[in-house]
């Protein structure tokens, strides 16, 4: 990594972004996804790392966004054909019913946030981070259906590293409790849950008991404060 400085990244949203309550959209997860989409190595992201945890905050929505429900219908797909009960085009084979449990179509309901911007706080190489991040086709779930589209990214170097802890002492990202003491994080008011804390975030076999971020929204004035805080 050529340089290691704290920075703040802003993404201007063109469409609502889907976020679930236990998915934090951390900056390192997005960089990792961007690399994996192109088949590149994602083991050395341009971010500072302390004991397996990248200095990269969860995504924080700016303003007080209106929320809406984004519902998608999920049916049997090709990958379900591994199910031994599915034997297409065979009269003697086992049959399935797609109108009743458990093979019927499923309605996945997500919450979409109509926010103007998303921000992340990080520490590392800001230019390289921005380059990798801006290659992503969208943010959050269902970006391929038009959600989480970004019109512009910008990065601002800042004075202090808020990528682990925000100025109000709340956590900025999931941090395993076994390293909280090492990082000087007070756990007395933290929310604890089993969560993943490093890429690949979808791989829950590497989940650990973590202290979780609670700040999911931020005012525009507070973003300016973060930029100027010394």
């Amino acid at each position: 990594m050529s340089k290691t400085i704290p920075f703040l990244i802003e993404a201007v949203l063109d469409s609502p972004v889907i976020l679930s309550s236990d998915a934090y959209l951390t900056l390192d997860s997005l960089l990792s996804a961007s690399c994996q989409l192109r088949g590149e190595d994602d083991t050395h992201l341009p971010l500072r790392r302390t004991a397996d945890v990248y200095h990269a905050s969860a995504g924080i929505l700016v303003g007080n966004p209106i929320t809406s429900e984004a519902a998608f219908l999920a049916r049997l797909t090709v990958r379900d054909c591994n199910n031994p009960r599915i034997k297409p085009n065979k009269k003697s084979g086992l049959i399935i019913s797609t109108v009743s449990f458990p093979d019927k179509a499923r309605l996945d309901r997500y919450q979409a946030f109509h926010a103007a911007k998303v921000i992340w706080l990080g520490c590392g190489d800001p230019d390289e981070t921005l380059r990798i991040l801006s290659r992503l086709p969208g943010l959050g779930k269902r970006y391929n259906a038009g959600y989480g589209q970004v019109s512009a990214y910008s990065v601002t170097p800042i004075q202090r590293d808020f990528s682990m802890q925000l100025p109000d002492d709340t956590l900025a990202r999931p941090v395993p409790i076994r390293i909280c003491q090492q990082l000087g994080i007070d756990l007395s008011h933290a929310h604890l849950d089993r969560a993943t804390y490093k890429p690949n975030y979808f791989d829950f076999t590497q989940a650990d008991l973590c202290a979780l971020p609670t700040t999911r929204l931020i005012n525009k004035d507070d973003v300016d404060f973060l930029k100027e805080a010394i």
Partner: protein, 251 residues
């Protein structure tokens, strides 16, 4: 199912899985040849209980009652809740018939109460984590994928038809504040609704003035209420719903 769900499922299985067969009272013929996985959760390798068209594992069979292909144990439908820890299980139901069925679960505490009573008690006085709080509804088909254990007394998951994530500390703080100030229910509802509308910025100017006036009137009736409602969760959140339930349901 991810490892998070699997850990929760293991906790559920500890109490219900091995006893599910007796609890449901199903005859349990062997599944058709070639059927090796559960129709509910997709688990392979376990003992399967066969219905007319589907086969279910020890866990899924307890909750698949209302779906086709299984001899419906009607008592396993909605109207009951369970609080499970590695050390004890507590079940509540308002049905005498269900209570009789649950007696097949040794060492489980049985209570004649509504599901919400158990949930409120768990939110206000949670047991030592890890634990799991389940509210069974009438559509429990995907219950195996809808279980989530809680690892903290402050962040509690309510499993069931949907997984609710509840900030229990906010609920406890809200209930304590409402109880201390002895705020009438209607006054609290009106004030929080007005404050939420202002905070969300969704009202036109005339509506904003009316909302501000409502809060001013409430402050005149009960000095100090403004500070309380500013610290409360906004209307529509699950925390607000449980604050209202815990504060007023038993009165």
């Amino acid at each position: 199912m991810n490892a998070k769900g699997q850990a929760a499922l293991a906790l559920y299985h500890q109490w219900f899985g091995e006893r599910a067969f007796a609890l449901c009272g199903l005859p349990g013929p062997s599944p058709k040849q070639g059927v090796t996985r559960c129709s509910g959760c997709g688990a392979k390798g376990g003992h399967l209980h066969s219905g007319a068209t589907h086969a279910f594992c020890d866990v899924c069979v307890t909750v698949a009652g209302n779906y086709q292909g299984i001899g419906t144990p009607g008592r396993m439908g909605g109207g009951w809740a369970a609080l499970i820890t590695p050390a004890f299980a507590e079940l509540t139901t308002t049905s005498e018939k269900n209570l009789q069925a649950f007696k097949t679960l040794p060492q489980a505490n049985l209570t004649h109460a509504t599901p919400n009573e158990l949930i409120m008690r768990a939110l206000l006085n949670p047991p030592e984590p890890p634990f799991m709080l389940i509210r069974f509804g009438n559509a429990n088909a995907d219950i195996c994928g809808q279980l989530r254990a809680s690892y903290s007394k402050d962040l509690i998951y309510l499993s069931g038809d949907t997984i609710d994530r509840i900030d229990a500390r906010k609920v406890r703080d809200g209930v304590a504040a409402v109880t201390r100030a002895e705020i009438p229910q209607k006054l609290l509802q009106q004030s929080v609704a007005s404050y939420s509308a202002i905070a969300r910025g969704l009202l036109p100017e005339a509506g904003l003035q009316k909302a501000r006036q409502t809060i001013c009137d409430a402050e005149v009736k009960l000095p100090g209420i403004t500070e309380i409602i500013r610290s409360m969760p906004l209307i529509g959140s699950s925390e607000y719903k449980w604050i209202m339930a815990c504060s007023y349901a038993t009165k």
